[in-house]
Symmetry: C2
Subunit: 310 residues, 2 copies
Amino acid sequence: MSDQTDDIAAVRRFNRFYTRIIGLLEEGMHRTRFTLSEARMIHEIGKRGATSGSELASELGMDPGQVSRLLWRLVDQDQVYITPGDDDRRRSRVSLTADGDKTCARLNIMSDEAAAGLLEPLDRSGRRRLVQAMKLVMRLLSGSPEKGPLAFRPHRIGELGWLTYRQALLYNQEYGWNSEFETLIARIYADYEDAPATPPKALWLADFDGEVAGSVFVVPAAGEEKTAQLRMLYVEPTFRGKGIGGMLVDHAVKFARNAGYRRMILWTQDCLVSARKIYQAAGFTLARDERHQSFGADLNGQYWVLDLEN
Amino acid sequence: MSDQTDDIAAVRRFNRFYTRIIGLLEEGMHRTRFTLSEARMIHEIGKRGATSGSELASELGMDPGQVSRLLWRLVDQDQVYITPGDDDRRRSRVSLTADGDKTCARLNIMSDEAAAGLLEPLDRSGRRRLVQAMKLVMRLLSGSPEKGPLAFRPHRIGELGWLTYRQALLYNQEYGWNSEFETLIARIYADYEDAPATPPKALWLADFDGEVAGSVFVVPAAGEEKTAQLRMLYVEPTFRGKGIGGMLVDHAVKFARNAGYRRMILWTQDCLVSARKIYQAAGFTLARDERHQSFGADLNGQYWVLDLEN
DNA sequence: CCGAATAGTTGACAACTTCAACTATCTCGT
DNA sequence: ACGAGATAGTTGAAGTTGTCAACTATTCGG
């Protein structure tokens, strides 16, 4: 309950804060001979090449009447020209004149400078954290059913720690696992990294616009010839239900097959329901299971196998 | 260079995005009989108890003239009363009437609801990440010379991974250390966590409004009776120069002394200049040093000692 | 081919922004 | 003690923005 109100207060504080930031940025526009609305309109027309008034109205959230008057004012200033639409003569085609193009470019530079002014006091690492945090805020607030470019890539420095952090936190929240699990996976990741390059191993992060959406890795199974082990499959809660887990497993299976492994195994817990479905879909079969007590919970461990030779 | 332009583009995208969010939130205010400016003014007066017009003008970024007219409109609506200032009769005292208080409370509830609407689609973990990201954006953009409440607290689940992530990344950026360092510290943190409770050990995070500003821990030194070892002192770049490192070390030394240790040792590298100064200031003396090759760099390790018995 | 929907224009009015002129009051240095 | 200059607030004027409603021209569906 107090969490709730704290969060709300923090969000409101941020809203007030960012209202100021936006105000400061817009201030800079007053050095031009255009008003803020005019500048936004020119920018929008420049971005789309040629549009209609109604599109501008909905995109900028303006009243159609205001759009109309604003456009004609820009026509008077020779920034914009309006021609009747070709197929639909209600619709007008709005485009920038040569002058308007120049203005648009100038405004863009000014906006860039304003944004650069925000970044200016920060060092490289600070900038990266700022941009990452902004992207996260956007993604969380926009609900993000957006299907952007998802890339599988190797891990970068520090990201083994990041994966430990996220998974320890997640499985604690979802299943109550304690710090025993955190130290276990910290060692698993360290062992992965320190293992020799052969027999083949690989780790991928699912990267969504710079944000880690999930990960998995493949190592040679201990003591078993020509057998690969799939480990640490995980998908961020906000990215679930998009098939990322399945893609990661398929990717890993393909890698193992190409690397010459004959068999693939994995060890999981029966409480991880959605993971189980993914393994089944990838062709794994349950070989045996075993009760055990770990991470402060009663678990049912499962051992799954996939034959890679057919 | 491309990084630079990418960051600028990301910041501009965020600005546009958040302009919309703020617009949506303000939309809700139209259900009241007050305009946005009036609402903001009432809220601001409510927050400060009693102010002057000029303070309101600068706080809300409004023209003094507009503030004057707005205030008198609110006086007409019986939300606000204005009395001449006591000591300075140019200055007026602006306060809320009983009606104004009620209005202010009502507006606050509406703002809370609007903010809650943003949080509503998110689960607990999503909310926490959103709030954290917002706080980070604020801190990075406000330059944060602010001295808020700094607390030393034990680590929570996942934070050993977080510390691994941050330190691996940092020391890679600053000194070029490779993943050998990352796996080493991952194991060091895991060992810390799995060690028995006696002889005494402790780890603290410097917590600044929910954000990790730095950390350090103390363990019994291997093989040496009554000797404590200080390890993994680190301060986030954005929090440096505020004495946090020194406070962490002092805290650790005090703990070791209270826990009955007679001596304290630590192992560091000579390239970590500011850390060295902190150790000196805490009374440590350099016992010996030793060249070695680790983490893909040529290093000069240093062994420092502090006698706890005087 | 008619009624409904859509694109855009125009008028009216209240509120906001910006600038400049103006009064009253205070501060500071001499 | 006093005058120059700064500060707090008020008022006027002109232009811009936000909102609503009425209106024309055009297109679409049946």
